[in-house]
């Protein structure tokens, strides 16, 4: 008897697994056509996700990062154990990693985001957005310059003659691909003559990269389907 013949059904006894399995089948039913079961699963997903993320963010972001440090800073006690936590220098004597009462400022900026709910004062939310955009623009720009621009330009400068034929061919192909792909995006002159030939060569390289991207995308989406089928077969039906 081989491995496949040994397999037998052993339905899950877990209520949560049954709910997940039936909702999965409801979602799959959309592949036949739109129907109320699919709609039910879709609405449940949106509602439950929204509620879950709000609660999760409150308890994992707002409470430990804002409420707890402020409580400690102004009361001198731990918010969970209520044990005394000495605050030498007072609630505003901050140091690296111990910002104490200064958390009031990011807290205030967070509250100001909610002014968008009223048209009369929604302009105040722009202060918070300005800080968020400023910080992230700075981080992104410096990160991109260091991690992508400089490092990638450096890595693109390869010696064309390597230790063996394969390495040399690889480096030449890479350089031709890089230069011709860049030339394809050079629009200051019409793509005719030599530039036209080079730009068309660049298109070939770009098409190969799009093809690789498509192949990987198909693999990713199929993995999700395989994951769901593995759940239905192994966790729900118990076929191991």
């Amino acid at each position: 008897m081989d491995e496949a013949e040994d397999r037998a059904l052993s339905l899950s006894q877990d209520f949560g697994v049954w709910v997940a399995a039936l909702l999965t089948l409801c979602v799959f039913s959309f592949l036949y056509k739109d129907n109320p079961l699919y709609k039910l699963a879709e609405h449940l997903f949106v509602g439950v996700s929204a509620g879950y993320y709000i609660v999760l963010n409150f308890w994992t972001v707002v409470v430990p990062n804002l409420f707890d440090p402020l409580y400690r800073a102004f009361t001198g006690h731990d918010p969970v154990t209520h044990a005394a936590v000495p605050q030498p220098g007072g609630p505003f004597a901050a140091s690296l990693g111990d910002y104490r009462g200064w958390f009031l400022f990011p807290g205030l900026l967070g509250v100001l985001l909610f002014t968008r709910l009223s048209r009369r004062v929604d302009w105040m939310s722009r202060w918070s957005l300005a800080v968020i955009i400023g910080v992230y623009a700075g981080l992104k720009t410096t990160g991109f310059a260091q991690g992508d621009l400089v490092a990638q330009a450096q890595a693109s400068l390869q010696p064309l003659w390597g230790p063996d034929l394969w390495t040399s061919l690889n480096a030449i192909l890479f350089t031709v691909g890089l230069v011709t792909s860049l030339l394809f995006f050079f629009y200051s002159r019409e793509h005719k003559g030599t530039l036209g030939v080079l730009a068309r060569t660049g298109i070939v390289f770009l098409m190969v990269s799009f093809g690789a991207g498509y192949g990987y995308t198909v693999m990713s989406r199929l993995s999700l389907l395989i994951g769901r089928f593995q759940f239905l077969l192994e966790d729900w039906l118990g076929i191991k």
Binding site: A4, T60, V61, L139, A155, M219, L224, G227
Partner: protein, 278 residues
């Protein structure tokens, strides 16, 4: 009549065929041979080369949506790290991921304990959980890990965990293992941490983001790369394991052949139509 009928084929037939091609090999595996590509071997070797007791940062940046592709490499990498007697600090920068990551790590740790390995939470591994802030958290961790994560996933004070007594900032780690499903993930770790703090890193990512990360592998910014379920399956094979990624590869291969066939047939139909057009 020729192939013209293919143009009018109800796409639900295609869904059905893909479904059967995926379901069939999961019920009755056919054993499509698996190799191991260079990026996968590099990923494996980067961990294999670590000295015992070194401290590794493992950032699991995904949520349940990426479970089929992300959980297998998380398990295998954690097993390899534990068997190398490395100590692991785990973080998560995705809101909905911390619960899944903690469950995956704990299940794997329990499996290893059942095999007789002496693994203790707080001494050998720590799960610092989720922290909001994306790139800002990465930069903040450079000023002190405990500074960015004052408490762990289980609400312990970070300073009370024995492993964290030896962890100050990125200089405490020898390697960053990033399991990445998108943003924030490998790209951001490369830009904010590898480039600024020169922490060597390897990545296991979803297939859809793999083409974007290959340039980092070529430039040496990544020491190894696992792309999607195929990468995870190759890694499992290198480790001599047969996890869910390996079990899914028969289905993956058959469905891929069918998609390729559909593309070829679609082109043939269009080409024939153009030739026969008046």
């Amino acid at each position: 009549m020729g192939l013209a009928w293919l143009e009018k084929l109800d796409r639900r037939w295609l869904f059905l065929i893909v479904g059967l091609l995926v379901l069939g090999p999961l019920v009755r595996p056919i054993g499509v041979p698996l190799g191991s590509s260079k990026p996968v071997r590099q990923f494996h070797d980067a961990i294999a080369a670590l000295p015992s007791h070194s401290i590794v940062l493992m950032s699991c940046d995904y949520d349940p949506g990426g479970k089929p592709e992300m959980v297998p490499p998380t398990r295998t990498a954690f097993r390899q790290l534990m068997e190398k007697h490395c100590r692991v600090v785990i973080t998560c920068l995705w809101t909905g991921g911390s619960g899944l990551v903690d469950e995956t790590i704990e299940q794997t740790a329990n499996e290893l304990r059942a095999k007789g390995m002496d693994i203790v939470y707080g001494r050998d591994y720590v799960d610092l959980g989720y922290k909001a802030g994306y790139e800002a958290v990465m930069v903040l961790m450079g000023k002190g890990i405990a500074n960015a994560f004052p408490q762990d996933q289980r609400a312990n004070r970070t300073s009370s965990l024995p492993l964290m007594h030896e962890v100050k900032d990125y200089s405490s780690f020898v390697l960053l293992v990033n399991i990445s499903a998108g943003y924030p993930g490998t790209k951001e770790w490369v830009q904010q941490v590898n480039a600024r703090f020169h922490l060597p890193m390897i990545s296991a990512c979803t297939a859809v983001s793999a083409p974007e990360y290959y340039p980092y592998l070529q430039s040496g910014q990544l020491r190894g790369l696992l792309g999607g379920m195929a990468g995870a399956a190759e890694y499992e094979k290198l480790r001599g394991e047969k996890g869910s990624a390996t079990r899914g590869m028969d289905a993956q291969s058959l469905a891929h052949v069918f998609v390729a066939l559909c593309i070829v047939m679609g082109n043939v139909v269009q080409w024939t139509k153009r030739r026969t057009a008046p």
